[in-house]
């Protein structure tokens, strides 16, 4: 079945350093749809960015990610971490399951940005 792997449970960074959160996926679908959701403390998850196109960079709010079907990856990056980026980040994959829109979420990576 479909699955999403986020290898880091916690990433701790100093403000100003680059961010990279890893996401790999498995699916039988030849055209996967990938998403990053962000959840700040005491808030609900919200969509950060999404991609359906192979090898095309997508950007939003300073973050960017590129879907690479060759390596089944969709890593989240940012050039310079800010304190406000501290949050829980989920990578998600649209499932191959008929016409209904369901997502498979990874376990999440908590990003902690320190001064």
């Amino acid at each position: 079945g479909d699955s999403v792997t986020q290898t880091e449970g916690l990433v701790t960074l100093t403000e100003g350093l680059p961010v990279m959160l890893n996401c790999t996926y498995q699916t039988i679908y030849s055209n996967p749809f990938l998403f990053w959701y962000v959840q700040h403390l005491n808030e609900s998850p919200r969509l950060l960015l999404k991609s359906f196109t192979d090898n095309k960079r997508t950007e939003h709010q300073g973050f960017h990610a590129t879907l690479h079907k060759s390596s089944s990856s969709f890593h989240l990056q940012k050039s310079s971490a800010q304190l406000s980026d501290s949050a829980l980040y989920y990578c998600a994959l649209k499932r191959v399951s008929g016409s209904f829109n369901k997502l498979t979420f990874g376990a999440g990576t908590r990003l902690a940005v320190c001064p």
């Binding site: 749809f33 649209k94 209904f100 829109n101 999440g108």
Partner: protein, 112 residues
């Protein structure tokens, strides 16, 4: 502005008791979902719905029922609550054909 609300926001229940978590959305979305969030497991799908009157089992439906009496409302029911169901529960809505899901604020449930 998309709006999904949940009630209650916090709930303490006793083992064996019945718990009902409610969700209301004003997005006019056909699709609604119930997830639970646990550290190390991410967001796991419990039940979902295509529209009023429909409910479908998600990945972890055991111990949970769902009810969708109207387009706007989707409830999650724990008939016999157990401590293993202590978690944070999120409701979400989404428009068919589009994959973004809009989440409610969550309900923190503690079963003693």
């Amino acid at each position: 502005e998309a709006a999904v609300t949940q009630s209650p926001r916090n709930k303490v229940a006793v083992t064996g008791g019945k718990v009902t978590l409610s969700c209301n959305q004003t997005n006019n979305h056909n699709n609604m979902y119930w997830y639970r969030q646990d550290t190390g497991h991410g967001l796991r799908l419990i039940h979902y719905s295509y529209g009023a009157g429909s409910t479908e089992k998600g990945d972890i439906p055991d111990g949970y029922k769902a009810s969708r009496p109207s387009q706007e409302n989707f409830s999650l029911i724990l008939e016999l609550a157990t401590p293993s169901q202590t978690s944070v529960y999120f409701c979400a809505s989404g428009e068919q054909g589009f994959y973004e899901q809009y989440f409610g604020p969550g309900t923190r449930l503690t079963v003693l």
